[in-house]
Amino acid sequence: MAAVGRTHRVRWGVVNVVVVLYALFPVWWIAALSFKDPATLTDGDYIPRDWTWENYSGIFDTSEFTRALVNSIGIALIATVIAVALGTMAAYAVARLRFPGKRVLIGMSLLIAMFPPISLVSPLFNIERIIGIFDTWIGLIIPYMTFSLPLAIYTLSAFFREIPWDLEKAAKVDGATPAQAFRMVIVPLAAPGVFTTAILVFIFCWNDFLFAISLTSTESARTVPAAIAFFTGSSQFQQPTGSIAAAAAVITIPIIIFVLFFQRRIVAGLTSGAVKG
């Protein structure tokens, strides 16, 4: 029995190692690139021979990157806050209240979840130029929060459905006003769901590239993914590989942090709406 158990463990161990390598190797590769100096950049090694922070100090010296980083953080945070706020209201209604038109709302958010963003790029480009929000934070926040609203509504309403609403009744009988019942009982229970949703929405906004390159033209609102694509080397003959790798590593940090600390919640959030249907 022990022998069978061991081969079993070894087999699963191998499978797990393969999966982990599959998932992490490309990330490791670009991180390794970011620590190589120009001389060893092309050696193809998986571990840098001479570690250097040169690429990092290089990108943080340019406003091109620092400005983009500020834009990315600011735009993603604001869009997340708004989307989660609007999404929470709608999801509460979907999960808790009876009202005609609920199906329309669900159908509409589904439609938007499937919407090809490229179809909106041309009209939004023109509209934003006309009303003067092209190449501004607002110009990106608006499409981001719109496209993440369905995600927010789905995830949140799945979470809200899990809350035992008997508790609200119990609180009322225990002497709470409706406001107290909401604040002292429902909010603490809903908070984890709202937080998880915020992470998912943030990742979504953080990731966007198409809107970022289409609706900006200067550093004033360009986010990191778009800025990276426009990186040029410090001289005409030098590839910006090191800088791109460093910038890529920097914007991967928040994702790694989320994944490390909130793995369980992210999995729950991603799958909650999906299968409970």
Binding site: P164, D166, L167, K169, A170, A171, K172, V173, D174, G175, A176, T177, Q180, M184, V185, P188, L189
Partner: protein
């Protein structure tokens, strides 16, 4: 502590469905009243109306000397125990139990003292700082009770508080609730669908069906003198046997043979203009092993006669409980069928067993010599028989109707 008076209380839902109709009920101070009935009968809606969780469409509800129709739950000063317990998962046991007091802005010292006291009564002292998720089902149930008793409210409202427990624990908790209620003397309204719980717990039991009160009475009254077919069939386990019978020449012509009636019954049925076709109801203990009673009679007074008709049945199944023996047999012509009885069959799950519902059950003395597959001679005590009108379901032999 206070009395609770319901006058013509009616609940109609926005979609027009009538959930509760004209309920009149006066619950005395300190009384333990059970609302019982199959699911959908309106018992929980009634309880929610008393709690203030559900609007009252018509009628008036008084708790103590105040009409509370329009008061929020918070102002009614009642405590409720939910079927799901509704413990706040983010609060410890201590915080859960102290929550109502905290809302009432009671000072911390008092809260602590009251919580400790309640925990002591309910044997929760060791668990005060745990979260509900780390408690067993029985402990959670006790926390829910604790949250209700710390407030010293005017009334306890309990919505199937034991139905999430396993059978053994349920019996234990039942006794504990009963003891607690007697000790605190707080008016209690308790909802259940389990007639055994209703019979063992309550001072009085309210049987409901389809939003209407069927009968209010002590457990013994409901058992011995059910007002109608529904109550007769709902109360008692195993349930009362119902047979179609024809009233002819002062006797009931039934699948078990001719059952003669005594003078009292005959007069009552006459006065009430009983129809020709009736339903006769016999509880399992109305039957007796005829050979046993003959043995006994030899030593004493003769007890046979026209009021104790005898017939022979073949035992299909025999269940021995040690103290008693239940025998199941089939009667020609099958059992009676009415809407009420159909509903009861569905509710009790009999429908789901796929069993032929034509069986009659009799409870015999353990000394019986009845054996499976063999005939047995049975005697019926007609003084325990009930006669129902199949059209209205009314019990024609109910003592109130004799006068």
């Amino acid at each position: 502590m206070a009395e609770i008076i319901l006058e013509k209380v009616t609940k109609r839902f926005p979609d027009g469905a009538l959930a509760v109709k004209d309920v009149d009920l006066a619950i005395a101070d300190g009384e333990f009243v059970i609302l019982v009935g199959p699911s959908g009968c309106g018992k929980s809606t009634t309880l929610n109306m008393i709690a203030g969780l559900e609007d009252i469409t018509h009628g008036s509800l008084r708790i103590g000397d105040r009409v509370v129709n329009d008061l929020a739950p918070k102002e009614r000063d009642v405590a409720m125990v939910f079927q799901s317990y509704a413990l706040y998962p983010h609060m410890s046991v201590r915080e859960n139990m102290g929550f109502p007091l905290r809302l009432a802005k009671v000072d911390k010292g008092t809260i602590n003292a009251k919580v400790e006291e309640a925990a002591r009564i309910l044997d929760l002292t060791d668990h005060l700082d745990r979260k509900p998720a780390n408690l067993s089902g029985g402990q959670r149930q006790r926390v829910a009770m604790g949250r209700a008793i710390v407030r010293d409210p005017k009334a306890f409202l309990m919505d199937e508080p034991l139905s999430n427990l396993d059978a053994k624990l349920r019996v234990q908790m039942r006794t504990q609730i009963s003891r607690l209620q007697r000790r605190l003397g707080t008016t209690t309204v308790y909802v259940t669908h389990d007639q055994t719980e209703a019979m063992t717990l309550g001072d009085r039991v309210v049987v409901m069906r389809q939003g209407l009160v069927q009968q209010v009475g002590t457990p013994a009254e409901l058992y011995d003198h059910p007002r109608n077919l529904f109550v007769a069939g709902f109360i008692g386990s195993p349930a009362m046997n119902f047979l179609n019978a024809t009233l002819e020449d002062g006797a009931l012509r039934s699948p078990l043979g001719d059952l003669s009636l005594d003078d009292r019954m005959r007069q009552v049925l006459e006065r009430r203009n009983a129809p020709r076709e009736v339903i006769v109801g016999l509880r399992p203990e109305a039957f007796e092993d005829a050979s046993l009673s003959r043995d006994r009679d030899r030593g004493g007074m003769f007890r046979g006669g026209p009021e104790r008709p005898v017939f022979t049945a073949t035992v299909d199944v025999l269940e021995s409980l040690g103290s008693d023996v239940y025998i199941y047999f089939t009667a020609e012509g099958g059992p009676a069928k009415t809407a009420e009885l159909e509903e009861l069959a569905t509710d009790s799950g009999l429908r789901d067993t796929g069993a032929e519902a034509g069986q009659i059950v009799a409870r015999l003395d353990a000394a019986t010599r009845a054996r499976e597959g063999h005939p047995v001679e049975l005697q019926i005590d007609m003084s325990k028989a009930h006669v129902f009108d199949p059209a209205t379901g009314e019990n024609l032999t109910h003592p109130d109707s004799t006068g």
